[in-house]
Symmetry: C2
């Protein structure tokens, strides 16, 4: 993409309303624009990152055997009356009346709707196990929306629902989700720690939240420092292997790690003092096992092996897709701007022409641009006539992990400059060496 033809409205000044780094940087980098309190448009650069995060979530869900579908944003109130949550859910539920005076709502979550779909279409235990998920816009009418898309009202969430014959099968689904989530977050360059949490209005006893440590997090967390040494890495996982998934669950949740909702001072104090940590965290996902809570209330049964009806064992599993942008930026930025992890960057590389309008420099940039695209890399090419300083400042602000700088002096020696946004280190290379280097770097992020 040539910057001269793109829409990247960066701001020089920091909007006064932004209190945390990710909100400030998303506004300054031209990624989002607020339209109402807690409701945002995703400008082109922000939209690219959002789509990339969605893509990773889709890939990891499908790798785990979960099936994509899509439920609508608006739901009939009747379904929520069946489960008993219509009255129980507070003013965060956006209630709507249509022109026929029917009670509707903008879905904050989808347990009722998916249970309705499954009870209408799944009759036998032979159709199980089944995990369906979707990535759809949700609405929670927060009293105080704040921090940009971190705590917005209209937000994008992946929510998935497992349906199983037994508690044991459903607990495998729970573990499978935990494994797939660990892998999902790591691909985004995030360490998200599973912590025992409270189930809130979803219900059930078994639940873990995934938290990214950050000073600006809204939750207080308590953990054994050993949990931050764990990495998922490049493991070969068979998601049908019950023991393997249970092993990963054990490995990642056996040490103390809890949010303030479930914190237990005595257990915490049993950890050696040098390993006790308190910090703040951003919640980026949560998994639940809640048994037959919804299937009992809504009559969702299947015929079991003995011919008798069995209520379905269920869980639900969410990833805050739009919120993840905030979390990633909170964990990856400096004074100059964002520093995208390679897995989620909106463009793989920025290309800066130091002398736009100079025939030789323009031609060299065009050649490098084409070579990068031919190698499957996405490029944002600053082909404007701005000063070099302004071009560098914009590239640093929007945070592409790699920058190629092309100027007449280097070209005279057959060299361009390759700069890492994270380390700030530069290297002089022949253009084809830079392309090869970047292809190698990104091979792990396809």
């Amino acid at each position: 993409m040539r910057l001269s033809r793109y829409f990247l409205p960066v701001l020089k000044e920091t909007p006064a309303e932004a209190q945390i780094a990710s909100h400030r940087l998303m506004l300054r980098a031209g990624m989002i624009k607020q339209s109402s309190a807690g409701i945002y448009s995703w400008l082109p650069l922000g939209h690219r990152v959002l789509r990339r995060i969605e893509q990773i979530v889709h890939e990891e869900q499908q790798r785990a055997g979960h099936i994509p579908m899509l439920m609508p944003t608006l739901q009939p109130a009747d379904l929520w009356k069946e489960s008993g949550r219509y009255d129980a859910y507070g003013p965060e539920m956006l209630r709507i009346r249509d022109r026929q005076d029917r009670d509707m709502l903008y879905g904050p979550t989808n347990e009722e709707m998916i249970t309705d779909i499954v009870r209408s279409n799944v009759a036998s235990y032979k159709d199980l196990p089944l995990t369906l998920y979707h990535i759809q816009w949700k609405f929670r009418d927060e009293m105080r929306p704040r921090f940009g898309v971190m705590r917005g009202r209209e937000f994008l969430m992946k929510d998935g629902y497992n349906f199983d014959l037994t508690r044991e099968d459903a607990l495998h689904a729970y573990n499978r989700h935990l494994v797939s989530y660990l892998r999902t977050y790591e691909r985004m360059g995030l360490q998200a720690i599973p912590m025992r949490a409270d189930s809130g209005p979803i219900g059930g006893d078994d639940t873990h939240e995934f938290l990214v440590l950050a000073e600006t997090g809204e939750s207080e967390v308590f953990y054994d420092s050993e949990v931050t040494d764990l990495t998922f890495g490049d493991r070969d996982i068979d998601y049908d292997d019950v023991a393997q998934c249970a092993g990963v669950m054990e490995e990642f949740t056996s040490r103390y790690a809890r949010t303030d909702e479930t914190h237990d001072e005595a257990l915490f104090n049993a950890i050696p003092e040098a390993r006790r940590r308190t910090a703040r965290g951003i919640e980026v996902g949560q998994i639940f096992y809640f048994g037959t809570k919804y299937s009992d209330a809504m009559g969702a049964t299947v015929q079991g092996p003995d011919g008798k009806p069995v209520p379905l064992h269920m869980g639900s599993h969410g990833i805050g897709v739009s919120r993840l942008l905030s979390a990633i930026i909170e964990a990856n930025h400096d004074d100059k701007g964002i520093i995208w992890p390679e897995g989620v960057t909106p463009f793989h590389v920025g290309l800066v022409n130091l002398k736009q309008g100079d025939g030789a420099t323009d031609a060299a940039c065009d050649g490098i641009y084409q070579a990068l695209e031919a190698a499957g890399l996405t490029v944002l090419y600053d082909d404007t006539k701005d000063r070099a300083g302004a071009k560098f400042a914009t590239m640093d602000l929007i945070g592409l992990p790699w920058r190629i700088t092309v100027g007449p002096r280097g070209l005279a020696a057959g060299k361009i400059e390759l700069t890492s946004r994270r380390t700030g280190e530069s290297e002089e290379l022949a253009p084809e060496e830079a392309v090869a280097r970047l292809s190698e770097v990104y091979a792990a992020h396809r």
Copy 2:
């Protein structure tokens, strides 16, 4: 995908409420499920087609130089009060009040919101031309939602907006959209005819609707039979070439083709009688040029070359993404079910195992499955123990364009059967020949 692990709830009986073929077939093929009047969940098979159509729209928009972004579903009423449409828009607008008693609405279209974004961020004529688009859920509270997703209330639409300095530039944007739309529909296997139409609540004088001819269409249309002879084909288009885009516009719109809204009996009767046609059509898209209607009302100006403020010339351009599924099925089905065009099929090929559980047949199917996937083709493998007749009926119903049938008798001779859903013709081939044939067929649809 193995059918035994998929969620494909096909129905044997036709639901009584479905009046047209596409609605019946989408319900029977387990593609959608209604949750409220005019509001549907997209079950896995339907979701795959929806995503494929979205993908084609994205590719063709970006090929034309248009920039993707995403605006939220809920909009503040204030923006619509600025343009004057808040009161003018009738009861089809779903009006919502949030917990702070602010007036909101579920967007039926986005002229106001995009104009607000552009007026806040675009200051100079140097930033033009600019075309932004998004694919987002919309809501129109239809009095009588019907025909499934053909006339739903919550529906997915691509809407794009061009911003130009002059009327001439904006008319080029109009032509560019017409060209990209012709190409988009043809990739989906549809002939969509641009017809002079009425602009309705969007406004402006220049507008064309794209109509797919079908008996179940809601619009009456009148046209010169020569328009149905036109095909876009595999043209090499430079979307910056004003004359080339104008030439395509001229070619596709110079003959008489109008909806009943703009029909002119005298002009129609001037066509030689043998070429006069009346028919019914399904509207699948519309393009508008409306000049400075919104930029005047909302104060969206840029600094012109002479330093003076100039109101932006605008147009908007929509494709009914979810409705397209209905239109494609109306144009592509028979008594047995859907017949997907190759460009939008949910899976490239169905694989039917005639003797599931037989070691040799299972192994052959596994090998073919892997070879197809290795060739980049998506496969739905019916690995259930159902009878052959039931398996064929399901494959015919869901309409994959190609079926590979594997049984012990054929395998003994080293052959499988490749069947075209559209012609019903079968051919016996070696497995590797079938893979090669399908790779070739789909090479044109990547």
